[in-house]
Subunit: 363 residues, 2 copies
């Protein structure tokens, strides 16, 4: 069996659903995608593990990346896929996240022999598992040249709306010291939990900003997401740790975000030497103010969906942001249904998304 | 082998050390103590499990309880006991906690055939383990009549100084509610950890009192001894619990202490319905302002030790407090050495403690 990239896009989506590809088991789907792409002479195909990169090399002034992942979360009796509503809805694992999006990309990769800007089509593995296994991350580390571009589109489900860039996220522990003592003689100790009061007060008083970046509004959030302290019920605690998560707009780097959290914590009288950074992920600018992107938003607007909005959760677009490439999320399917047993996608949305991308890449 | 209660008190202490009696294994020592006491016709002896009560019944105007526990923590190569410093120091498990004290009590129980106030000598089991097994607790539940008295002395090690009564202790959880949300959209949630800020601030600002009770100064303490909150690193937490320990002077009941903690927590804007009481133990008044006790303090002062002080940690004296009997701690041995492998007690302190009690009970 081989994939027919020239079939109607929704049939290609069902064919992809019918090839099981739970994270780590993408060998079969990767082989079929590679083989199907190699039949098209206008594409330069590179395989890296179970990820495939297919590029046009037309010498255009601009290059865009269009990327999607091949894997799914585990199957729950929803493979093979099926049609419903007289063929208006496609059901099955990956119908939303994100084989419908991959079908759009494969269909256009085959059809657009002469796009108006060079296109790098990326199909990668292991997106649904721990970050270190992510296929796009592997390409960006081992072959960053393959991802060079002026703009990127990630085909994750957005209901067919452009969701630009993404907020970054950092996580720090604010570690407050004390001195242990028996609680019957508490004045011999220093209470580390009491010392957390001004830090929590600074967080409670903080008013998160909404930051406009490249024309989109990114709402931030600064929250204690964990607190722990205490040794025993009769001991003055010698340590209390507050875990703080800052979701920051892509106008700033993770380093700048850490400095900002330090400033907020300092309002609680706690110095930055008490801050331990445990997690950091850069955000990504949407780049929608560039002319390249404006033609994209115009093409998508013509499909009748609402205007672009900011992406607030962190997504793989940030991998492009880290390479200095503005990026947006754009794909068929309701994101609320991603990973659900009843995952399903309207066929019209698959077709509209294909139409939006096609109009952009041919205008 | 039988115990010779008429031997020098330090030799009796060594004989007691030489009978292993780890908590739960007091059968042998209880049998020997019972048998030795029954040889003295002026004592009315009652056995309850491995606890023994021996009472004079002289019809005196006042009755005092003198109590000590027979068990020890596990042995660490320190049984049998041994002499050191030319016989000036007795080493071994229980030398401090509290076979030296038990020896003082047994020696006087046998010697004082006509004390000036009636005496109830209590030797109980399982003090070093969980509260529900405590032999004194069992007597107070099953035979409270055996403990009726005007004053009580508990022979726990105090270095030969009178330590009066004890602070009570309560523990409550202050449970703060929130509403969970993804931290990328934190405005959809309510942060329970942030809600803890004013509670911790109220605790940090609190100035603990020192309360004079029956002539002794009880220093209190109010502390967060634990805090926990948080679901995951990307979730606004829906609950945060602060565990608060209040060590309160014996001028108030546990109920009054709970009401006081509620008042303090209310300063942080949190209502009492958020408070869950997890532990409560009444304190005990020292009763040193009564004439009965003043003769006791005078007799002990004659042994050359410092004046009475308040006991701050909770001890079994509180079981007398709960029966309405003021009580003090008074026994040989440095409490810092209790449970230590190098447990040891100066012979002079054993003799002085015996002299102090004897002077009081014969004056």
């Amino acid at each position: 069996m081989t994939l027919d990239l020239t079939a109607p896009v929704e049939e290609l989506a069902k064919a992809l659903i019918d090839i099981p590809s739970v994270s780590g088991e993408e060998q079969e789907i990767a082989a079929q995608v590679e083989s199907a792409l190699r039949e098209h002479a206008h594409l330069e195909v590179t395989r890296l593990g179970n990820s495939i990169v297919a590029r046009t090399t037309l010498g255009r002034a601009e290059r865009v990346v269009v990327a999607g992942h091949l894997d799914t979360v585990p199957i729950k009796g929803n493979v093979p896929g099926r049609w419903d509503d007289d063929g208006a809805t496609l059901w099955g694992r990956g119908a939303v996240d994100m084989k419908a999006g991959v079908a759009v990309q494969l269909s256009l990769a085959a059809a657009l022999t002469e796009p108006t800007r060079d296109v790098t089509w990326v199909f990668y593995d292991q997106e649904e598992v721990e970050e270190t296994r992510n296929g796009l991350g592997r390409i960006s580390r081992e072959r960053p040249d393959l991802l060079e571009a002026d703009f990127a589109v990630l085909g994750e489900p957005t209901g067919g709306v452009i969701e630009g860039g993404c907020n970054g996220t950092i996580r720090v522990d604010v570690v407050l010291p004390g001195k242990a003592a028996h609680s019957a003689r508490s004045w011999k100790g220093v209470n580390a939990i009491h010392a957390a009061a001004p830090v929590l007060a600074a967080l409670a008083d903080y008013e998160a900003a909404t930051v406009e970046v490249d024309g989109l509004s990114y709402r931030e959030g600064l929250n204690a997401v964990g607190v722990r302290g205490g040794i025993a019920g009769n001991v003055v605690p010698d340590e209390c740790a507050v875990t703080v998560n800052y979701r920051f707009a892509p106008d700033k780097t993770a380093d700048e975000a850490i400095a900002h959290v330090s400033d907020v914590v300092a309002r609680g009288g706690v110095g930055e030497h008490r801050i331990v950074v445990t997690d950091r992920a850069e955000g990504c600018r949407p780049g929608l103010d560039a002319s390249l992107a404006q033609s994209f938003t115009a093409a998508v607007a013509a499909t009748g969906v609402e205007p672009p909005r900011a992406k607030l959760g962190w997504t793989d677009v940030a991998r492009f942001g880290a390479l200095g490439i503005p990026a947006v999320n754009y794909g068929p399917g309701d994101p609320e249904l991603a990973h659900a047993d009843e995952e399903r996608c309207p066929v019209s949305q698959i077709r509209d998304t294909r139409a939006g991308l096609e109009a952009w890449l041919t205008s």
